[in-house]
């Protein structure tokens, strides 16, 4: 049967077959924004299509006439120059050939098969309105569900959606829990869902046809360099330390595979991935082609979350009674600790604290559980480090300091080390080879550099020289190393690691009654539990629930509340966070909007206009005292011709012009950051600047272009925000999240340039506010950079209430 699996339409000229799964779909949109066949291809990640044997063109598999590529997302028609003859060619590389005079074909006329998320109507007919009305009405939501079902049972039908069990949403998180068992019963399944999803995603991401460049690292290990196109889609994230499996299946030698860990990910310098291999023998360094890469999924972090929740439930000593009840949301009499307050609140070698920071330190020292909210630029890390300093001095026992990200942990390590405390930074084994400013504080380096264990030192030296040890020596080495590690950890004042790192077996025998978690609003609850269940009596959570929260890949788990941080839940439960109120990052004009919008106007400026005005920078700010503007880019988006709605060429070109102007006025590339929410735009901007910018390529190369998420926790002197979305009918996607907007707007110290379409953006309440703000300041402009004019554009105002 060739009826559309979604809506049942079965006219032979209106349907096409998915070659991958052999299902038929029609070319009508029904109630969705793409046609059914396109919906299916996108949802199922299928790419090949054939027409019906009885259709006008007969049984035809759509493919490139020149290279045979069958990916319909790449195919388009090319007409002959003078005849009514066409061929199908792939956009890359076949149709990318310049059209030469003596060629019969006009490659400049390449016409994509898919236009506006629908096949060209004269290739696959769009069913008439009447046919569509007679057909089964299916919603985008049902389509999603059905595609989801097909992953387990390819023959499932729409009727199966009605069956019980299918639509079961997991039990959502609660505000209060009866006990730790209930807590575990709710979070356990969510963590498992996320783990399963992550596993499925990673394992389905095998990439073939990898071309490898071989290299040897300073540590004599083999390094494979290659491009991983899968990353560009943003579907999988790759982080330093992740494991990948590299396989060779070519004919030049017998098959080979090895696992390695990632030492470099794509950045503004190059898109190459660096993989340090585990083994050094038998590596096919003479081969370059026919490699495949698999993502190796590791359950470690999820296992540790589950283990922490179990400990929380079964082990009464895992946390103090007070913390136990507080975490579960029970009413508990507040406890005031009779702490002897330090005379000086600022810590040695750290900046003097301001009043709100001192207040934060003071109240933290007197409480068993505190939340500190650190809006952008308010000195969160210094405050945290100072708190840790005092906690270590006041309390007996060691302080455990964690954060979800390695970057944050490293920053804290540096600051806390500066106070003179004895710190140890515990890293995952896979990250030991990575260099960082705090390498010398890591546990493995401290073991390596210790001079008290003579025998261990000998073995380490032997191991370095020979590469390996005899099995008896290896055994001895391991025992000695473990003892040395324990000794170093035991004598430390502060131990630092990621939240997941707190589940490291090397810490399993330790008890930490004092725990500080930085960036706590970016960790999931179960993640936060890992450091807490090691005996916590006094907990400090530092974060900002007005900035981005934890990233959850599985939508069901996210919807059920896994994306809510513990910090956030505690705030909802009525624990008032202590807010740091003086920001030292932004020019006062840049902090005004975020302060009013996200912090009830409470942000004070610790820097003055004068501090944040760069003299001698020749840049056409429309209001010289107000180094910001919103540049109106109305240009119609070219979605239909290229099918690539995710990039905005006008904005990319304007972005390059702004950057060039900055550079020409003496601003360094490292001072500039470009934020764009779409991966497509990121890579487009990077290459556009390099190929079209009038200045030296290298200058543009050094400029960081990244997503909002990648900029969280960091700052630049100048920020350019390219909004990309300029589509009248679609939403603005990623930008529709106040916390993401907050982060984007608060990265710059000296100036902000926003490139976007005010007409489209103003329909969203939050952006409407922002646009009005820019307009009021005469900072909503249009026209070329050397002749900016205040824009007179009228906004249409928000379309619907903000969700």
């Amino acid at each position: 049967e060739h009826a559309c699996r979604y809506c049942g339409i079965h006219a032979v000229n209106s349907v096409a077959r998915c070659v991958t799964c052999n299902k038929w779909f029609c070319n009508s949109r029904g109630n969705t924004s793409g046609s059914h066949i396109i919906n299916h291809l996108v949802r199922a990640k299928h790419r090949e299509v054939a027409l019906h044997p009885d259709s006008p063109l007969g049984e035809t598999t759509l493919e490139c006439y020149s290279c045979g590529c069958k990916n319909v997302f790449l195919l388009g028609f090319i007409p002959a120059k003078s005849d009514t003859v066409v061929v199908l060619l792939c956009r890359q590389p076949c149709a990318a050939m310049p059209s030469s005079k003596d060629m019969n074909w006009d490659t400049s006329q390449w016409l994509p098969l898919i236009d506006d998320r629908c096949f060209l109507p004269w290739l696959v007919k769009v069913p008439s309105e009447q046919e569509q009305l007679r057909a089964r009405q299916i919603t985008a939501h049902q389509i999603n569900k059905l595609e989801e079902l097909w992953k387990d049972n390819t023959e499932a039908t729409l009727e199966d959606l009605e069956k019980p069990g299918i639509d079961d949403e997991p039990q959502p998180v609660l505000l209060r829990y009866d006990d730790a068992y209930q807590y575990q019963n709710i979070f356990g399944p969510l963590v498992k869902m996320e783990a399963d999803y992550d596993k499925k995603l990673k394992e389905s991401q095998t990439q073939d046809d990898i071309v490898v460049r071989w290299d040897i690292g300073l540590n004599q290990k083999r390094i494979a360099w290659f491009y991983l196109p899968k990353l560009e889609s943003g579907e999988v994230r790759l982080a330093i330390g992740d494991e990948l499996r590299l396989r060779y299946r070519g004919e030049l030698r017998q098959s080979w595979e090895d696992v390695g860990h990632v030492i470099k990910i794509p950045n503004n310098v190059s898109d190459e991935v660096g993989l340090e291999l585990r083994r050094n023998d038998n590596t096919p360094v003479d081969c370059t082609h026919n490699f495949s890469v698999d993502f190796v999924w590791k359950s470690t972090s999820f296992d540790r979350m589950q283990a922490a929740m179990k400990t929380f439930a079964v082990d009464e000593t895992s946390v103090s009674g007070f913390i136990y009840h507080k975490l579960l949301g029970h009413e508990v009499e507040p406890q005031v600790l009779r702490t002897v307050m330090p005379k000086r609140f600022s810590a040695p070698n750290l900046p003097e604290l301001n009043h709100s920071q001192v207040y934060a330190v003071k109240s933290v020292l007197q409480k068993n559980l505190s939340l500190i909210q650190g809006p952008p630029g308010t000195g969160k890390t210094v405050t945290s480090a100072t708190i840790v300093y005092h906690l270590a001095k006041i309390n007996s026992g060691q302080v455990l300091v964690c954060a979800p990200s390695n970057v944050a942990v490293d920053q804290l390590t540096e600051k806390i080390h500066a106070t003179g405390l004895k710190v140890v930074r515990l890293t995952a084994k896979s990250r030991e080879a990575l260099d960082s400013p705090v390498s010398f504080l890591t546990l493995h380096e401290q073991v390596y550099n210790n001079d008290t264990h003579v025998e261990l030192q000998k073995l380490i030296q032997l191991k370095t020289e020979q590469g390996e040890l005899s099995s008896s020596d290896e055994k001895k080495y391991k025992t000695l190393k473990r003892a040395c590690e324990r000794e170093i950890l035991q004598t430390a004042d502060v131990i630092l690691c990621t939240c997941v790192g707190a589940g490291d077996p090397r810490l399993s025998k330790f008890k930490f009654r004092t725990v500080l978690i930085d960036e706590a609003t970016q960790a999931t609850e179960p993640e936060c539990m890992i450091p807490l269940v090691l005996g916590c009596k006094q907990a400090v959570l530092v974060g900002d629930h007005q900035q981005l929260g934890p990233v959850i890949m599985n939508k069901k788990a996210a919807r059920a509340g896994l994306c809510q941080s513990l910090f956030e839940r505690l705030v909802i439960l009525g624990i008032r966070p202590i807010r740091l109120q003086v920001q030292y990052r932004m020019h006062p004009c840049l902090s005004e909007f975020p302060s009013n919008m996200f912090y009830e106007g409470s942000l004070q400026n610790g820097v003055t206009t004068q501090d944040r005005l760069k003299k001698n920078v020749d840049f056409p700010w429309p209001a010289p005292e107000t180094p910001m503007f919103f540049h109106s880019n109305l240009g119609q988006e070219e979605i239909s011709s290229s099918g690539t709605s995710y990039l905005n060429r006008t904005e990319a070109s304007n972005c390059e012009k702004v950057v060039t102007k900055f550079l020409k006025s003496g601003i360094l590339p490292s001072q500039i950051g470009i934020i764009t929410p779409y991966e497509g735009q990121r890579s487009y901007v990077v290459s556009y600047m390099q190929f079209n910018g009038p200045l030296k390529k290298d200058l543009y190369k050094e400029i960081e272009v990244a997503s909002v998420d990648a900029f969280q926790g960091r700052e630049k002197d100048y920020i350019i925000l390219s909004c990309v979305r300029s589509n009248e009918h679609q939403g603005i996607g990623f930008l529709n999240d106040p916390r993401r907007l907050n982060v984007a707007l608060t990265r710059a110290r000296y100036g902000v340039v926003i490139l976007g379409n005010p007409r489209v953006l103003s329909r969203h309440p939050l952006w409407h506010h922002l646009l009005v703000h820019y307009k009021d300041k005469d900072c909503l402009v249009e026209g070329p950079l050397n002749n900016l004019k205040v824009s007179m554009i009228a906004f249409r105002g928000p379309r619907r209430a903000y969700r």
Binding site: Y65, T84, P93, C94, E235
Partner: protein, 103 residues
């Protein structure tokens, strides 16, 4: 056939969360497809000849119900494809042919 008029209460469509997500996925599919070909070697030449018997056939006026018949070359032979005469493809080809004849 009498024209059938169906009253529906389809309203102006407000994009749903699903639409936005679909659109994002669609964009990803596009990027990923393009990216997967980034390192594909370019053929030296576009080596597709137009069969002689199709050449210069002066059949501009191949109109069938407002359609222009194009010949689609496929690996399994050539096929006739009707393209609306107001489509960019048809319009461009026609104007080029006319220009050529004037030369």
């Amino acid at each position: 056939d009498d024209e059938l008029i169906v009253h529906t209460n389809r309203q102006e469509k407000v994009p749903t969360e699903e639409d936005e997500e679909f659109e994002r996925e669609f964009s990803r599919m596009m990027t990923e497809s393009m990216e997967s070909r980034k390192y594909e070697r370019k053929p030296a030449m576009l080596d597709v000849a137009i069969p002689m018997y199709l050449k210069g056939s002066d059949k501009v006026s191949d109109f069938l119900d407002g359609n222009v018949a194009f010949t689609l070359l496929t690996k399994k032979g050539r096929k006739t494809m009707e393209v609306p005469s107001d489509s960019a493809l048809a319009v461009n080809t026609r104007s080029k042919q006319e220009a050529e004849r004037e030369e």
